[in-house]
């Protein structure tokens, strides 16, 4: 059974941003809200939590003209050819994702890709996020 990251209980989110910050720590080795593969923001009375859906046939990868993004066997994508991203002006991968889960790293000029490590779920105090096997 594939292991996935799921926003299981968005209604329980308090907006503490712990997930966002521990994510940036895994990906970049420093803490940041901007340089993180996920986002949390106010939405009406509650919060919206945006993470990579871990698609089996990811639209972002299909949209990439340079094959910089490669689908992972368990879902989601991997950035295999980041050098190609530097020259990419249109960033079709960002547009292709209906969830708007991909964000752009404007320092390194490439998308910020979820590495499906599950650290965000580990530090969620309200089990908003679930990381594990899904049916």
């Amino acid at each position: 059974m594939p292991v996935k990251l799921v926003v299981n209980h968005p209604e329980r989110c308090m907006g503490c941003m712990t997930c966002v910050l521990v994510c940036s720590r895994e990906i970049y080795g420093s803490l940041s809200v901007k340089y993180s593969a996920m986002r949390v923001f106010r939405d009406g009375l509650g919060f919206r939590v945006v993470v990579c859906s871990g698609c089996e046939d990811p639209d972002c990868a299909s949209a990439c003209p340079y094959e910089a993004l490669k689908p992972r066997p368990d879902g989601g994508v991997e950035l295999v050819n980041p050098d190609k991203c530097v020259e990419c002006e249109d960033r079709p991968c960002l547009d292709a994702c209906s969830m708007k889960a991909l964000r752009w790293d404007d320092e390194r000029k490439r998308p910020i890709v979820c590495i499906e490590c599950g650290v965000c779920a580990k530090f969620c105090p309200h089990e908003v996020l679930y990381y594990g096997e899904v049916v």
Binding site: T18, S30, K34, R42
Partner: protein, 582 residues
């Protein structure tokens, strides 16, 4: 870079960055950094409303890195106390400043026109005209200025009409639910023509020892979430105190005439949580969410025409705008809380003034021509009208109310302030009174006298030992607030943990050295207070505190007098030793 401080001159419409790494290395950050900058930047004897009064906002270095660390320290000269203006606020401001790359923001001068500041951490500061949001509620201003999907961690601090009109205890509202309260930061912002500050932290915070930091983070997180050390704040939040204090007869009721409120159940943390709670609102990196938010639902016309608003509530506002005004209607309390938040008024001080006015009216010291509305214990709607008058100041009586003073010096014995600041809701005994008097910012949390009283229920406290304990506690808290630790997490962040957490950031010092740093920060605060004319000898303690029996029985005036004498001596000794004048 560590030690970068953003300076903004409102007078000149300019900004620049100065690096003061040496101050971080010596004084950590937060209040340690802020008090040093205040000494440098605030001229002696300055009028708090003059452009020369600086505003310093300093988040400690734990913010954005460790769980439950979020407090930004504001320092300025206070219009309410006439000396050290110090106030601590949670919310996202500290993290936003840190992610923007700054260890402090200093606002100097005054703007010729109303403005708000847009800070993005790229070295540029936007000076934006605020004509369209002038007069707007502080809470609404925050909502208007916040971007729906900001490109980083964003925080807005704003003043409401109370700040714009220089109410001496106007606060500054952070992100809608947190406050720089008590000593009038809102009025100082108002005097600078500064309606709001928006900070968007788009950068990163790096750590020297990343792996060591990560495992320490996990240890702290587990302790916060899985042990009972912070349960109270997560479960009912601070309003848990309502029934706890009422059971020991320490819940100030009807202007401290009693420590027992017969209807406490109706405005208890339990009642609010069971019936009205809709959300808990945490600061960044805090899994607790102590800020409890209630739903206030009402009908404005027939046919179930419904209106719903949110109101944050905490123990202190519930005491100040509830039991201390004899209000037993939870919706009435919430309405007053929301009104204070919207106007940008310190809820505690507002309650103090309303309670004083009610008693002054009851005793015929003032009449309807002054109060304009008949103040009556328990009448929330009447108090709503009075709060509006505090901000509008239609007559001399309300001008005096807005300055936190007893009108024409009447009824000072029952104006429940010490050092100009309205008392917190703990009639617990000697240590609370002495602690509030000697706390550098006259806050109950400066040194937690109320907690000392509660730990020694029924045992008379020795005035001399009480002073020693309180001063020791406050010097330690100076370290916590310099790091950015929320005081609600004080049971988690003991001195060894703080030393360990600092070391991961490259700020190594022994436990003894840390204690020493705490004493120096404390001494610097007091040096500022003494410089501005503060003295403990002539400090007025309202007689009511001695009349109404506390949880520990009647407080003896002689014990307080003795304690203040000892404290004056002890604090002067500390100032001479740890912060001698240059």
């Amino acid at each position: 870079m560590m030690g970068d401080i953003l300076f903004v001159s409102l007078t000149e419409g300019m900004s620049w960055v100065e690096n003061r790494r040496e101050l971080i290395e010596e004084y950590i950050g937060g209040s340690g950094l802020a008090i040093n900058l205040l000494h440098e930047l605030c001229p002696e004897g300055v009028d708090p409303f003059s452009p020369e009064n600086p505003i310093i906002l300093a988040p400690g270095p734990f913010i954005g890195l460790y769980p439950v660390c979020s407090k930004t320290i504001a320092m300025f000269k206070s219009p309410l106390t006439g000396n050290l203006g110090e106030s601590h606020a949670g919310g996202g401001l500290g993290a936003a400043l840190r992610f923007a790359g700054y260890d402090a923001l200093v606002v100097l001068g005054a703007s010729p026109k109303p403005v708000w500041l847009d800070i993005r951490g790229d070295g540029e500061v936007g000076f934006k005209g605020s004509s369209s949001v002038q007069g707007m509620s502080a809470v609404e201003t925050v909502a208007v200025l916040k971007e729906p999907e900001p490109d980083g961690l964003q925080s807005v601090v704003a003043v409401g009409p109370a700040g714009e009109k220089f109410v001496y205890y106007a606060n500054a509202v952070v992100d809608g639910y947190n406050f720089f309260g008590r000593t009038g930061l809102g009025a100082v912002m108002g005097a600078k023509n500064l309606k709001a500050i928006r900070v968007t932290g788009c950068g990163r915070i790096g750590v020297e020892d990343l792996d060591g930091y990560k495992s320490l983070f996990e240890r702290i997180y587990e302790e916060v979430v899985k042990t009972g050390k912070m349960r109270k704040y997560h479960d009912l939040g601070t309003p848990q105190n309502v029934l706890t204090l009422n059971s020991i007869k320490a819940l100030p009721t009807r202007n401290f005439k009693s420590g027992f409120f017969e209807h406490a159940e109706k405005i208890s943390g339990e009642y609010f949580a069971d019936n009205l709670l809709i959300r808990k609102n945490p600061c960044p990196l805090c899994p607790i969410g102590c800020k409890h938010v209630a739903m206030l639902r009402g009908f404005f016309a027939d046919e179930h025409e419904v209106e719903v608003v949110e109101a944050g509530y905490d123990y202190e506002p519930v005491y100040a705008l509830g039991s201390n005004l004899g209000i037993d209607d939870p919706a009435g309390v919430l309405k007053l809380c929301l009104l204070c938040d919207s106007y940008g008024l310190d809820a505690m001080m507002t309650g103090t003034m309303l309670a004083w006015a009610t008693e002054a009216y009851e005793r015929n010291l003032v009449g309807l021509e002054e109060t304009l509305v008949e103040p009556r214990w328990g009448d929330a709607d009447g108090y709503v009208e009075m709060v509006k008058h505090i901000v509008d100041m239609p007559n001399e009586f309300y001008v005096s109310m807005a300055q936190g003073r007893a009108y024409r010096g009447l009824g000072e014995d029952f104006l429940m302030t010490i050092g100009g600041v309205g008392l917190a809701g703990y009639h617990t005994g000697l240590a609370f009174v002495v602690g509030t008097a000697i706390g550098a910012r006259h806050s109950h949390v400066s040194n937690a006298g109320y907690s000392l009283d509660q730990r020694h229920l029924g045992e008379p406290l020795d005035p001399v030992k009480t002073v020693e304990t309180l001063v020791e506690e406050e010097t330690w808290r100076c370290i916590l607030e310099s790091c950015g630790v929320c005081l609600f997490a004080r049971r988690v962040y003991d001195i060894n943990l703080v030393a360990e957490a600092l070391a991961k950031l490259g700020l190594r010092r022994s436990v003894e050295e840390l204690k020493e740093t705490g004493r120096r920060i404390y001494a610097l605060k007091y040096r500022f207070k003494f410089r501005e004319g503060f003295g403990l000898k002539n400090l007025k303690i309202p007689a009511r505190l001695f009349e109404t029996p506390s949880a520990n029985g009647r407080i003896e005036p002689d014990d307080v007098k003795k304690a203040l004498e000892v404290a004056e001596h002890r604090i002067k000794e500390l100032v001479e030793r740890y912060a001698p004048a240059v």
